[in-house]
Symmetry: D2
C-alpha cells in the first residue's frame, strides 16, 4: 500500500526503515484514547460546519465498531500502517469511505499522539492512585493490628532505640503520601489539552480547542502550538514519580527481605508470595520482595532513557520522540504490578512479635534513654553519654544482661541514678516516653493514624 | 581531640576513616541555616524550661558571633571536627562553656542535617525562581521586539511551516513556566519542619516542634520521626527539577548553537558571550550556549547519583546519606549559573530577520497551506496532499521558485485553484491564518504574552 | 500443577506472585542455549556414570525434538512453568519420563541461567561484530568514492578549517574500531563457562566442568561457585558497549540530520530511509537517523537499570537478578536494528559535493592557514593571528569575498605576504598541506584506509 | 588582559561568561602532564628545526621552574587565564619572552587537553591497580587466616548451604580480578598519543608525532585528527570501570554492614573504621562501609553525566566537552578513597567464627546434601527433594534440632537412609564434599589461592 505521505517519493521504504518506524505493536494500547480523541475532534468539526451531521454519525458509529473489534480481538493491527492512528483511520476509511478521510482535517499525528498519551496517563494515574491508597490502608491495618509490638529501630543497621512496629509501618505510609503528591503533580502535568494545535504552527481555521478540552475533560489547555508538539514534560513527571516510588519500595522490600532471613526472623511472608528452591528443600524465598526491589532498576532506567532522548533536541517534533512510549508504558505497568505485589505481601504477613521483642532486649536499645535520664537529672549530656558508654562496655566485657541490671548495679556508675532508672531501661516505657510530635509513643501513633485517615 | 561519641572506643580512627567521614569542606555552606536552627532550638529549650534566659542569651550571642566570624573569614573550619554542626557547636562551647553543651539536648545530627538542608533548599528555590522569572521576561522582551519576524518552523529539522520568531520564543517561555511549577513542588517538599524528631524515635520530653516550625517559617511539619531522618525526597524533587530545566536549556542552546552557525546564520550572539579561537582567527564560538548545553550532563548525573544512593537502604538513617549533599549543591550552583548565562545571552542577541525570512522563502514552507486551501475548497485532504506534492516535486526538478509561481501555473495542477491562492502561498499571511488557540498568528501571540504577564 | 519446589508449601502462589515471577515470555528466546547446555550437561553425566548411554540417547533425542517443536511454533510455552528452563524440562519429562528428571542432577537454575545468557551473548556479539564490520566497510566505500570532496570541518559548530569528506567519514570508522574493541571485551567477559557450579557452593560429585567447557566452546572457566551465580559483569560489559556505540551513532545521526536540513543541504538521504509528512507535502524527513539517535536513550537506560539492580545486593543469587534479561535483550535488539539502519542509510546516500564546497568557500575556512603562513615566514603566531583577524573583520564589514582577494589586497595588511599566499587561501591546497600523521591530506587518508583494511 | 583570541572582538566577555568558561580551578591538577607535553612538543619542534637549541633550553628550564613554583605553592593560578594551559603558557612567556610564544606552534588546546587527560588517566590507572592488588592480597590473607571457618551461604538472603568463609572472600577476589581487566582496558584506551593533530584537521608541517609518542611513552598513536579531538571514549571507559567497581564494593559493604549488625554479628570492625553516635552510647557504626556503599551513587552519576554530555554532539570539538573533567577527577578520587577504605577495613576485621558456625547450625543448611544423598542412592531428585522437605517441615513444627537427628529418626522417612547419613548432615563435611571445580571444598580453595597468586 502506498504511504499516506507518499506523494513525492519514488522508492518505497526499505525493510529496516519499516522495522524501525513501526510502533503499532506497542502504541496500540492507546486505541481507546485515540478513538475518543477522534470522536471529539469530529464533533468539533461538525460544530464548526466542516462535517455534516450525517458524516459525524458515520464516523462515530464507525469508530465505535472499531473499538468493539479491537476489544473482541477481531481487529488486525498491521505493521505496514505504522502506528495506532493510521491503523484506526485506515480501517475507518475502509468502513465509511470519504468521511473517514475528512476526519483528519486540521489534525496531525503530532498533536494526536500528545493527546493520546495525555489521556492515557491521566487514566493510569487514577488507577495507580487507587493502588497507592490500598497499600497505605493495608499498612495502616497492619499497624493497628500490631500497634504495641516493639522492635529495634536501626540507624546504620545498628540497634539504636526501641520503636513500635506500628510507627515503623507508618513511616512507610508517609513516604507513600508523598508519592501520591508526586503522582498528582504528574497527573496535573498531563491535564492540558493539546488537541487542535496542528503539526506545529496552529491550524488555518477557527477550530474550537476549548470545546474539545471540555468534552475530553481536561482541566487546562496548552498555550503554544510549538511547545505542545515538542513537550514531553508530563511523561518525565510520571517517570520521575515512578522512580521515587520504586526507590521507596526498594527500601521497604530490603527490610522485608532482611526480616524474613533467619538472622532477623521478624516476619513470616505467606506461602502465597514466597517460593521454594528446586534444589534446596528448606528454602522459603521472599521472591516477591526481591523482584519488586529489583524493579527500581528499570524505573530509573526509563527515566534516564527519556531524559537522554530529549537532551539537545531542537524544536519542534523530532522523530526521536517516538522513543518516549515504551519506557512510559513499562513504568506504568511496573508501578501497577509492584503495588499489587506489595499489597498482596502485606495481606498475610505474620509479625513475629516475640522475635522482635527479643531483638530489642538482646541489645542495649535503651542506652540513650539512660543518658537522657542522667541528663534530665542535671548531668551534662556529653558526660552522661560517657557514663552509659562505660556501662555498655562493662556489660559486653563481663557478659552481663543490661536489662537485668539492678538499681544497685547502676549506682556503682553514678550516684545520680535513682530507683526509677529501671523504668528508663524498659523498652516499652522508652517508646512511650517519646512524647514529641511524630515520635514513637502510642499516643502519637494514634494521632498519625487519624491524620492519615483524613488524607485518604 | 576525643570524638564526642568516643566513650567505648579504644583506638582512634585511621586517616582514611577521617578522610571519608569529613564533610565540612562542603557542608560548611550550610552555616547560616545551622546557626538559625540552633537559635530556634535553644529558644524552644528556653520556652520549655530546659535553658535559662541567661543561657539562651549566651547561646544566641555566641552563635551570632560565630556567624560573623565565618562571614569575616576568621572562622577556622577544622576537618577533625568532621562537619559544620560539630565545628559550630565546638566553637560555641569554647566561647560560652557549659551552656553550649546543653544546647544539644534532645537533638541529633540526624534531624539537624535534615533541617539545614531543608532551610537551604527553600532559600535557593526562591533565588532560582527569581532567575527563572528574569529569563522568561527577557524572552518575552525579545518576542515583543521581534514580534513580526518570520522564520521556518521545523519538524525533523526540516522546514515545515513558517512561524513567527516571537511564537518560537514563547514556546520556550511556556517550558520555563512548567519549570517554575516543578521548582515550586520541590520548594513545597522542603517546606516541612523536621526539627525535634531526635535521632529516629522521637525525644523524651515535650519539645515544642510546632513552636520551632513557626519560628523557622515552615509551612508544614513532618509527621513521623523515623521517616523524617531517612527521607531525602525533597532533595530528589529538586534534583529532578534541575534535570528537566537542564534538558530544556540544552534544547534551547542547541538552537542557539545552530542559529549561530554560518549555515543557519539566524542570530548573532554578542562578543560578551562568545569566544574566539587561539589558532583560528575567524572563529566566534557560542561557548556559553555549548557549556550550558553540556551542563545537562552533571544535572542528570546528580539525579542518578542520589537515586542510586537511596536504592535499597533500610530504615532509618544510614551513613550513605552523607553522599546527598555534594550533588545537591552542585545542581543548585549549576542551575543558577546556567540561568544567569541564558539571561546574559538573551540580552544582546541580534535577530537576523532577513536571514530568517530568506530561509522561509527558499523552502516550500507554505506547501501545507496550499493543501489546506484545496481541502477547504472541497478536495479531500489526502488528494490535496498529493497535488501539492506533485507541484513541489516539479519545482525541485525544474528549479522553479515556488513563491514566484503565478495563478496560471497553479491552475495547471488543479482547476480548484483561484486567484486567492497567491495569498495562501505567502508566508506572512500563512502565519496569520493560524488562528487556532495557541497558533502562530499575531493575535494569539499577543494573547500568550498577556497570559504570561499574568503568571509572573 | 504443583511447583517443583513445593514440598513445604501449603498455599499456592497468588496471581500477582505468578505474574511477577514468570519470565518465560522473554527468556524463551534462550531456548537454543538452554537445550545446548542440557545436552552437554547430560553428556557429562553420562561420562561420569550418572546417566546410562540409553538415558543419554533419550535425552538428546527428546531435546532435539523439543527444539524442532519450538522452531515449528508447535511448542506451547506456559506461564505457570515460569521460565524457559522449567518449560523445556517439563516437556522433556513428559516425553521420556524418568531420565528427564535425572538430567537435573547436580544443576541449579542459578548456574543454568548464567550459562544460557553467556552462550547467548557470545553468539550475539559475533553477529553484532559482523554488522560493525559491514558499517565500517560501507563508510570506507563512501570515503573512497568521495575521497576528494571537501567540506567545512567544524568546531563549536563554527566553520573551522576545510577537511576532506573522506577524512570525516574515517573519523567515524575509528570510533567504530574502538566499539569493536569494547564488543570484544564484552564477548571475552562472557566467555567463561559457569556450568556445574551448582546453586552456590559447588556440587557433591566430581562433575567434569572442563569437559563441559570444551564441549560448549568456552575459552575460560569460572573459578568460584559463589561468584559465578552472582556475577553479572558480563552483561554490564555488553550494556556499556551498547551505550557507547549508541552515543557514537547519536553523534553521527545528528550530523546526518543537520546535513539533510535545507540550511546545510550537504547530503540527500534516499527515499528508502526517509519518510514524508501526512500533512506537509514538501517534507522529506530523516526519520531513520532521528530514530537511531533517539535509541541512545534506551541504551543508556538499560545500563543504568542493571547498575541499579546490582547496587548493594549481597551474595549470592538474589531474585532481583531476574531483572537482568529484558534490558540485555533490548540492548542487543536495539544495537542490531540501529546498525542495520546505519548501513542502509549509507548505501544510497547522495553526497552533494557542490554544496559542501560552497560552504567551504562562503566562510573564512582557511584563515588559519594564512596565520600559519605568516608564522612560517617568521611572524610570531599570536601576531599573525591578529593580522588575519583584522582581514576577516574587514571582509565582513565591507562584504569582500575572502577567497577572491588578490595578492595586493593582502599586502596592505603585511609586507610579509608573497604571491604564494593565494595558494594558502585555497581550501583544496589547505587540506593537502595537513601533512601531519592523521591529518586530512589525501596521502594520509589513503594511509588510514590501508590501516583500516588491515584491521577488518 | 586581552584574550589570546581577541582579534575580532570588540566587547570583553561578561562576568558570567568568564565564570562559566573558567576551568583552571579543577584542571590545574593536570599541570605535570601539561608541562611534560609542552617539553616533548618543544623537543619535537627543535628536532624539525622550528625551535633552536637555545630556545628549547629556555623553554625546558622555564617549564621546570614553573613546575617547581606550582609544587612550592608559589604559582598563582589566575581565573582570567581560563585553564591550566593558558596559565602555564602565559607564565612561560613572562619568564622567557618570545620563545614561549613560539612553543605554541602547530598545537591547539584541542589536542593539548586530550594529551593531558590521557597522560593523567594512564598514571592514575597504575595507581589504582596497585590499590586493587593490595585489596585482593588483603582478602587472600583474610581467607588464609580463616580458611576453615564455615558460615551460611545465602541465596535470596535465606540460608542455603554452608560455605567456607575463605571461599566467600575469594568470591570477592574474583570480582576484583575482573575489575583489574576493566581497568586495564581503560588504561589501554588512554594509551593512544593524540599530540600533534592540531585543532581538528592536522597541521601544516611534518611534525613528528611518532617521536612525541615515543618520548611520552604511549603504546599507540591516534589515527585521525577529527576523531582525536572529539573522542572521549577513554574517559567513558574509565568512568565505566569505576561504576562497576563501585557496584562491587557496594555489594561487599552491604555484607559488611549486615555482618556487623547484632542480628548477624558475624564480624567486628575495628574501632579505627567505625564511629559512635553522639547521642546513643552503645552504637558502633560501620560508617566506612556505609560511605563506600553510598559512593556508588556518584560513580554511576559521573558515568551518566558524560554519556549525557556526548549524546548527539556533532563533530569535532564542542565546548560541551569542557564538562568531561570534573566527573573524571571525581571518579578517580572516589575510587582511590574507596579502595583505601576497603583495605583499611580488612586489616583488623575480627571474624567471629563461632557466631558464623552457630548460624550454620541453627538452620537447615545441609538439607540439600540430604537430598543429594538420597538421589545418589537412586531416589529421583524431585522425590528426594520432597522427602527432605517433609523432614524440614516436621522439624519446624515439632521444634526438633535437625542436626541432632539420629539415624533412626531419618529412617522413618525413607528406608534408603543408612548410617552414613549423619556425615551428610554435618556442615563441615558438606563443604568438603563440594568437590567440583570452583566449589567450596578446602582443596579447591587452595587451588583458587594458588591461581590468584599467579595473577598478581
Amino acid at each position: 500500500m502506498k504511504k499516506l505521505w507518499g506523494g513525492r517519493f519514488n522508492d518505497k521504504n526499505s525493510d529496516i526503515t519499516e522495522k524501525l518506524s513501526v510502533s503499532v505493536h506497542y502504541d496500540k494500547r492507546l486505541y481507546r484514547q485515540d478513538i475518543r480523541g477522534s470522536i471529539v475532534h469530529s464533533e468539533m468539526l461538525n460544530k464548526i460546519g466542516i462535517l455534516s451531521d450525517e458524516e459525524l454519525g458515520k464516523i462515530i458509529n464507525g469508530l465505535n465498531e472499531i473499538q468493539m473489534e479491537i476489544e473482541n480481538n477481531s481487529f488486525d493491527f498491521e505493521d505496514r500502517l505504522e502506528d495506532v492512528h493510521m491503523n484506526i483511520e485506515s480501517r475507518l476509511t475502509d468502513k465509511i469511505g470519504y468521511a473517514g478521510k475528512k476526519m483528519h482535517t486540521g489534525r496531525s499525528r503530532n498533536d494526536q499522539i500528545a493527546l493520546d498519551t495525555r489521556l492515557y496517563l491521566k487514566d493510569e494515574c487514577c488507577e495507580i492512585d487507587k493502588h497507592l491508597v490500598r497499600l497505605i490502608r493495608s499498612l495502616m491495618d497492619l499497624a493497628e493490628k500490631n500497634k504495641y509490638v516493639i522492635l529495634p529501630g536501626y540507624t546504620h543497621m545498628q540497634v539504636a532505640q526501641p520503636v513500635r512496629f506500628s510507627h515503623h509501618m507508618l513511616a512507610y505510609c508517609w513516604q507513600l503520601v508523598r508519592d501520591r503528591r508526586r503522582l498528582d503533580f504528574a497527573r496535573n502535568s498531563s491535564d492540558y489539552s493539546p488537541i487542535g494545535v496542528g503539526a506545529l504552527a496552529g491550524v488555518n481555521y477557527g477550530n474550537d480547542r476549548h470545546f474539545m478540552q471540555q468534552k475530553l475533560e481536561f482541566g487546562n489547555i496548552t498555550q503554544n502550538s510549538m511547545d505542545t508538539v515538542s513537550d514531553r514534560d508530563y511523561m518525565l513527571d510520571f517517570l520521575y514519580f515512578a522512580s521515587v516510588l520504586g526507590t521507596h519500595l526498594s527500601r521497604f522490600c530490603e527490610e522485608l527481605v532482611l526480616w524474613s532471613s533467619s538472622q532477623f526472623d521478624f516476619i513470616r511472608l505467606s506461602d502465597k508470595v514466597t517460593t521454594g528452591s528446586s534444589i534446596m528443600p528448606q528454602k522459603k524465598n521472599p521472591d516477591l520482595a526481591e523482584i519488586i526491589r529489583g524493579k527500581t532498576g528499570r524505573l530509573n532506567g526509563n527515566l534516564v532513557s527519556l531524559l537522554t532522548v530529549l537532551k539537545g533536541l531542537p524544536m519542534t517534533y523530532n522523530r526521536d520522540l517516538q522513543e518516549d512510549k515504551e519506557s512510559l508504558f513499562d513504568s506504568v505497568d511496573t508501578v501497577l504490578l509492584s503495588l499489587e505485589g506489595m499489597i498482596e505481601m502485606m495481606k498475610d504477613i505474620t509479625v513475629k512479635k516475640d522475635k522482635m521483642r527479643d531483638a530489642v532486649y538482646s541489645n542495649f536499645s535503651t542506652a540513650t534513654d539512660l543518658a537522657d535520664y542522667l541528663s534530665q537529672k542535671g548531668v551534662p549530656f556529653r558526660e552522661a553519654h560517657e557514663i552509659i558508654g562505660t556501662i555498655v562496655g562493662d556489660c559486653e566485657k563481663n557478659n552481663i544482661d543490661f536489662f537485668k541490671m539492678k538499681f544497685s548495679d547502676f549506682q556503682k556508675y553514678s550516684e545520680v541514678f535513682q530507683e526509677d532508672v529501671l523504668d528508663y531501661v524498659n523498652p516499652e516505657s522508652s517508646t512511650d516516653r517519646k512524647i514529641s510530635f511524630g515520635g514513637t509513643s502510642i499516643y502519637d501513633i494514634d494521632r498519625q493514624l487519624e491524620e492519615l485517615r483524613k488524607l485518604l
